[in-house]
Symmetry: C2
DNA sequence: ACCCGAGGGACCAATTATGTCCCACTAGTT
DNA sequence: AACTAGTGGGACATAATTGGTCCCTCGGGT
């Protein structure tokens, strides 16, 4: 591929001559991306999102406006057509500079994944990295979903974001979307049920709901499983063709599950770093605590053709790393912050 | 050419996102080029050449050193192998960014030239632009010269520089080099004779000298033309296959020719902007004054297969422009400063 | 009508860039 | 061997640019 080599040659030379090129481009990419995903947005809100000063954002915005990539409206900044076209082109080159493709291959190989997808940035520092990650997950779904399939999805912030970022697909997918887990915590929009319904709408398919809490003692759970409706939904869940789920740190999941203090202490003492499907695990991927859970269990994953995990932000790197040691998933969608940790 | 398009696409996008990219690259190119041509050179001398402050040069040099493109010796800075390789690659990309190729085509077309060669920069501001121009002229000679040909060369700073920059050609050219003009001014190294001898050595050919002054009244010149030696050399000059010459402003040429005050006044009154082969011409390319001259005359140019003019620096743009209107030359080697004026 | 968030204006402090000069060392010349 | 010129690196002060912070008027949404 002579073409590929000369673009890479040029980028290499430019980085040699302008050692801060990556930084300069990244900065502009981040601003453009944030405005693209959050538009219309004012300057002050933007600087909050980017954890960058108002004046700094303003300088960059002014420059991008002059280049015709952004424009101001009374409601806030928006990208022009030229701006969004530039954004996606820039994404390609930034990824080349950062060696994202190599990183993807390295991680897929090291953790025995079918595929890794990395987006620029660190979701801890820039929420729009999470938005880009969600859009990437939506694209994976679009590729993998076929008519007649069952998609099981979990809840959480990231999943809600994936659901939000699914534009109506050009071609409807006649699929069934089911929640991978029962109700958890108090936030309606983050529930697996809500996510499942929203995704089904975007996909053009149908959904089923699971009306039981995720945290339930075994003696309470057993009688509920005699309900034919609940049994039917759980059956679908366990026979899902595709699973899409987030990965949480032990800390945040314990909070969302409202665990009793004695369990919280147990989890802390055993150095749990993450949680998935009711299992708490330490940094080596060893299970250190199990909570009863109505939906999918870890062992169910081997019956699912395609498991897709989505998660980003450096603070989650340890949990994600441990999870990859524990569970046989297929596709990981993450961000650069996590990827560099995984590659260490 | 998909390859070409994607490099250009990338450069276009980078300029969109980093509007000062050209400036940043040009700066680094200028420093690298200067050190390449002048090495070994100290920082202070370098800043004099570049008309840039010492501290500014130092910052750039420090950066390029860190990237392995330059190194310091007790005698001064030199380029590394990596540095000179980078320089020539960078030249290519800078020329793309600046649209040098389009400029070359435009000027060749507008002034009915077979070919135009433009190097980056303005020789008035950066003497190493002139060095690069000289190297480019040397390369043209290497391409055009064939065994048995006669090459006529004029004197002057630029011509001396061309002679200096001719490395021994990989393949010797069995040619005869002759001075296009007689002696002019006081500077030995700038004489057409010196230039001719030096070039002949580098080329691996032979040379003939013309031992008469360029400025000579007709009644003194005629008897000299009866000398069979002088006649023989002049005959060779008028039958040269290739002519290589500089272009001077009227002002500097009048100075070099030590013209009498009444002639100086005449030249100023008639708004002469340039001089070539003893002819002073105004901005429209009209001859306004003629001095007797022993070497080549303007009308001899039509008998020469390939005429190559070399000149740069914005202060010469007007003279060069006028000359191109006056004389049917084939190849122009100039710099960006002049080229942008020619293109207006 | 009211409120909130928008962009543009403005001022000031902090940081970076640039100018200038000094010193010890080395290489070249006499 | 002695001397000189030019070198790179150090250092400090000044100038310019960057970034932070806050204010004001306007427009859109409720």
């Amino acid at each position: 591929m002579p073409e590929k080599n000369s673009v890479e040659m040029l980028l290499e030379l430019l980085q040699l001559v302008l050692p801060n090129l990556e930084e300069l481009l990244d900065e502009r990419y981040r601003v453009l991306r944030a405005i693209y995903f959050l538009q219309p947005i004012g300057r002050r809100a933007l600087s909050d999102y980017l954890l960058t000063g108002e004046r700094t954002v303003r300088n960059l915005v002014e420059e991008l406006k002059q280049q015709g990539l952004l424009q101001t409206t009374p409601l806030g900044l928006i990208t022009t057509k030229k701006g969004s076209d530039t954004l996606w082109l820039l994404k390609e080159y930034i990824e080349k500079i950062k060696g994202i493709e190599n990183l993807e291959k390295l991680i897929a190989q090291r953790y025995n994944l079918k595929r890794t997808i990395i987006v620029s940035g660190d979701a801890d520092k820039d929420l729009t990295a999470k938005k880009e990650m969600s859009a990437a997950a939506a694209r994976v779904l679009e590729q993998e979903l076929k008519n007649g399939m069952i998609l099981a999805v979990s809840g959480g912030t990231t999943m809600a974001m994936v659901a939000d970022s699914m534009d109506t697909f050009s071609e409807p997918k006649v699929v069934t979307v089911v929640p991978a887990r029962g109700g958890l915590g108090e936030d309606v929009e983050k529930q697996a049920n809500t996510v499942a319904a929203k995704m089904a709408k975007s996909l053009g398919g149908s959904y089923r709901l699971l009306h039981i809490p995720d945290v339930l003692e075994e003696e309470l759970l057993k009688p509920l499983l005699t309900s034919s409706y609940i049994n039917e939904v759980i059956d679908k869940i366990k026979h899902a063709d595709i699973l899409l789920h987030g990965i949480g740190t032990a800390e945040e999941m314990a909070g969302r599950r409202s665990l009793q203090p004695i369990f919280l202490k147990k989890i802390q003492d055993s150095k749990a770093v993450g949680e998935a499907f009711g299992y708490y695990f330490d940094a080596e991927g060893r299970i250190v605590h199990t909570t009863p859970s109505a939906g999918l269990r870890l062992e169910d994953l081997r019956n699912i053709a395609i498991s897709i995990a989505v998660g980003g932000g450096v603070s989650k790197a340890e949990a994600i790393k441990a999870f990859l040691k524990l569970a046989p998933i297929d596709i990981l969608v993450t961000d650069e912050g996590v990827a560099r940790k995984l590659a260490e």
